[in-house]
Symmetry: C2
């Protein structure tokens, strides 16, 4: 399935949309091929786009004062991903967006996207859904991870996000769980 067809399917799953309607704005999504480790956004830049991942995986992460990375989110294929806070506030992002694997993404500019939100009801619904899901994901992250011992967080990840453990290097998994890779390694050893 072509990248744009993937996007169409994604939208249709949430809101009925004809091919004719889609063709009116599909060109606003431009195809982008990125190599492993390539950056799509750097901390400090204002994020003025939204991304739809067709294949591969991106991660959004922040670098703390002492250099420790904190990964907020992994965006796999058929997911939208962006630095939503920067996009909404129009302020510099506090996170990087980097390809974890060689990836293919569709990028739409913030202005085009917000214009579609206002004018195309299906996209308005997509955005609302995007916000709702982003919020829910964020909440679950707080309640499921914060305050629990590291071993519990690992179990949670195994149960709820098995894909991450399979596809993602341990170092990044650790930064997602908010622990060091040393601790993660030990915890995996004791199962």
């Amino acid at each position: 399935m072509s990248p744009h067809d993937q996007l169409l399917s994604y939208i249709q799953a949430l809101a009925p949309l004809t091919l004719a309607e889609f063709s009116k704005f599909k060109d606003q999504f431009v195809l982008l091929k990125v190599k492993r480790n390539e950056y799509l956004l750097r901390e400090g830049e204002v994020c003025n786009f939204n991304l739809f991942v067709c294949s591969g995986a991106l991660r959004m992460y922040h670098i703390g004062l002492e250099g420790q990375e904190l990964t907020r989110y992994f965006a796999f294929e058929n997911k939208f991903g962006t630095s939503l806070t920067s996009l909404i506030e129009g302020k510099p992002a506090i996170e990087n967006i980097q390809a974890v694997e060689k990836s293919v993404v569709l990028r739409i500019s913030k202005t085009d996207f917000l214009n579609l939100v206002e004018t195309v009801p299906q996209v308005n619904l997509i955005y609302r859904n995007m916000l709702e899901q982003a919020y829910i994901t964020s909440q679950k992250r707080i309640y499921d991870l914060q305050g629990k011992p590291a071993i519990e967080r690992l179990k949670w990840l195994m149960n709820h996000k098995p894909g991450i453990l399979n596809r993602i290097p341990s170092r990044l998994v650790a930064s997602y769980l908010g622990i060091t890779s040393y601790t993660l390694s030990r915890l995996k050893a004791e199962l």
Copy 2:
């Protein structure tokens, strides 16, 4: 200013709304007076309402397996607050909503609220803004608190949410920061 006038002002600050338009649905917001420590929602119940705090303060918190409380949010006057995840998903909430102080709130049912979202553009915008702000708050909480030592979290709170330190009992502040009240007490001592 009366509770309903407060609500009107809140909406008008985000989207122009005439008094006539407002009067069409203002009665869907019912006035509620709650005592200190009284509950508006209990963990496990499905949250089918949205709340606008006119005076006082609510807190949303979760009780972990070992009994430790984790406070997600304090809603002070002129803020909306609810268990958004439960409201959106229609599933049992994993958090309690409790009045921290004697409070006056306006409550609207989920169905009435979502109906207004669909039919009143101003309320649609309110909801969008509510989602955006909820998400941003949640993100900041993760990036600003997670992984940082307790003293840093306290400093962050002093700088960014001074109101919380003034109005809220230490025990609850600690549960908001994800530390014990013992640790908080010691940290405050060493300034």
